[in-house]
């Protein structure tokens, strides 16, 4: 099975699935955040320089906010996403799937100091690769996860064909394989569809396009479509 799915059991007894994000997506998000922050700081220099020492003071406060508090504010107030994470559709969550708390966000972001040792996020990368859920040291201590935001699923209709009763009883697994074929067949090219359908020639007794149609009919039957 997929090893990048973390299951969280809720008090209602169902398992929710989270998909922790790997180091590449996270590094890109981090780089994007840095580009945005430094561009902002750089642009801010111009008007602030005109204010003289006052502008200098304000700029250093901005620098402090950018270095330490920007990720915390965005993660807590922006549903777990800094701008970079938003762009890469990542999100910070508590390990139990809940929104990240103030404390946890502060902790995981302060501990970037440790993850950054001895330079270029070496500790963070090692920790991300070694831990089961792609957690860097800050995530481990704060009990947080960076996950992929689930993509909204568009319903994939099974092509309209007359439903066809199954000629013999199939196991659940076999039935869901047929369903998956039915749903995906509109996205595959016809030649590939026929090739796949011919694997089940024993079941349908048909070849070519007729075999595909028969399988789609069975899929519609399984789903209860008419």
């Amino acid at each position: 099975m997929l090893d990048t799915v973390r299951k969280v059991e809720t008090p209602e007894g169902v398992e929710l699935e989270l998909r922790p994000a790997g180091p590449v997506a996270r590094a890109l998000a981090l780089a994007l955040d840095q580009v945005v922050l430094w561009t902002g700081l750089f642009v801010a220099v111009i008007p602030l320089a005109m204010l003289g020492p006052v502008g200098m003071g304000i700029w250093m406060i901005l620098l402090f906010l950018a270095q330490w508090l920007y990720p915390v504010l965005f993660e807590v107030l922006g549903s777990g996403q800094t701008l970079g994470k938003r762009a890469l559709r990542l999100r910070v969550l508590m390990a139990d799937g809940l929104p990240v708390s103030w404390e946890a966000s502060l902790l995981r972001n302060l501990l970037r100091v440790v993850d950054g040792l001895p330079g270029a996020y070496t500790v963070g990368l090692a920790s991300t690769l070694l831990s089961r859920n792609f957690q860097r040291v800050g995530d481990l201590v704060a009990g947080t996860l960076v996950v992929h935001v689930p993509e909204p699923q568009r319903p994939r209709p099974i092509p309209v064909t007359p439903p066809l009763a199954l000629p013999l009883s199939l196991s659940l697994e076999e039935q869901s394989a047929l369903l998956a074929f039915g749903e995906r067949s509109s996205q595959l090219n016809p030649a590939r569809c026929e090739e796949l359908a011919e694997v089940l020639e024993d079941l349908t007794g048909l070849r070519g396009e007729a075999g595909v149609t028969a399988l789609q009919g069975m899929a519609r039957h399984i789903r209860g479509l008419t």
């Binding site: 003289g52 200098m56 809940l98 440790v114 201590v141 789903r223 479509l225």
Partner: protein
């Protein structure tokens, strides 16, 4: 398959759609109906897995359940609760962690006093800590003869220094805390380093007789700045200690505990350093006020701060 997926979707689609729209901010369901609706949804999630419905449906129900889970079990809307933290949680935490606070204070203030006494007794030993250039720079900064330029920093310059103190000093608090994770070495080192450096400078300037300028300048913000540094050090030591003395917990669990406590401590320490930066930026360099008054204000602030940590948040709230 007991119930065809199509039938299942037709039966419950309305509920799912209502929940999806409720999450999107539409009042499709009353708040009081949500827990019941969520439990039914959880049942559907379990059924869809059990009956191996299609991945598209499975993912849709998963996403919906996760969204509701987060909404229902999230911490209260109160969020950070700044007032409660300052009035109760922070001083209570400092008292509860008194051993670590004491340890950090001994490292900082002990080395400070030791360095001060050594330099007072043997003035030439200041050069163990400060290079001649540094010693000369400090001497020039606090020389009453150059006080004119030093004191007339002006409000513009004050803002610049305020910004610098925030960026530099609070940044150091955070670094001291985080570097504590490496066996506490970072925290211990920074506490000792600042203590020895501070004590040596204080002894050196006292030897030179620059009492009014030096003590006048530092007294105002010393309480907030030094106690803030000690507390961020204590927070770092807590992290380091979790590695070497996890007690009955696994090391990771001990670290998580230490992290929770440490984050709360360092948050307070950062606030104190922020106050210190404001005092240092806008009050300490003021030469219009006689230095003895500034010393008095500094001592009052020490007393108030210590009273705060000793007394705040002790009263029991009525049940």
């Amino acid at each position: 398959m007991s119930i065809r997926q199509e039938r299942f979707e037709a039966d419950h689609g309305e509920l799912w759609e209502a929940l999806e729209r409720w999450l999107g901010g539409y009042p499709t369901l009353g708040d009081e109906d949500i827990p019941g609706a969520y439990r039914r949804l959880c049942h559907h999630v379990a059924l869809s897995r059990e009956r191996q419905y299609t991945p598209a449906l499975h993912d849709r129900l998963q996403a919906l359940a996760l969204g509701l889970h987060q909404r229902l079990y999230a911490e209260g809307e109160g969020g950070f609760g700044a007032w409660r933290y300052l009035a109760r949680d922070f001083p209570q935490l400092v008292r509860r962690e008194w051993r670590l606070v004491l340890m950090a204070s001994i490292l900082l203030f002990g080395s400070w006093i030791a360095a001060f006494l050594v330099v007072r007794r043997r003035p030439e030993l200041v050069h163990l800590v400060l290079s001649p250039a540094q010693a000369a720079k400090y001497a020039q900064m606090y020389d009453p003869a150059t006080q004119e330029t030093f004191g007339m920093r002006g409000p513009m310059q004050d803002v610049a220094m305020f910004g610098y103190y925030i960026w530099n000093n609070i940044g150091i608090d955070f670094q001291v805390f985080a570097s504590g994770l490496v066996l506490g070495i970072g925290s211990v080192f920074t506490l000792l380093y600042n203590g020895i450096q501070g004590g040596a400078v204080m002894g050196h300037l006292t030897n030179l007789g620059f009492v009014s300028t030096f003590y006048g300048f530092v007294s105002g913000h010393s309480s907030f700045e030094l106690l803030g540094a000690a507390l961020s050090g204590a927070a770092g030591l807590r992290l380091g200690l979790a590695w070497v003395h996890p007690g009955r917990h696994s090391r990771l669990e001990a670290l998580k505990d230490a992290g929770r406590v440490g984050a709360k401590l360092v948050m307070g320490a950062a606030l104190m350093t922020f106050v210190a930066a404001a005092i240092e930026g806008f009050w300490s360099a003021n030469t219009l006020v006689p230095w003895k008054v500034k010393l008095g204000v500094g001592l009052v602030l020490w007393a108030l701060l210590l009273a705060y940590f000793g007394l705040a948040g002790r009263r029991r709230t009525a049940p």
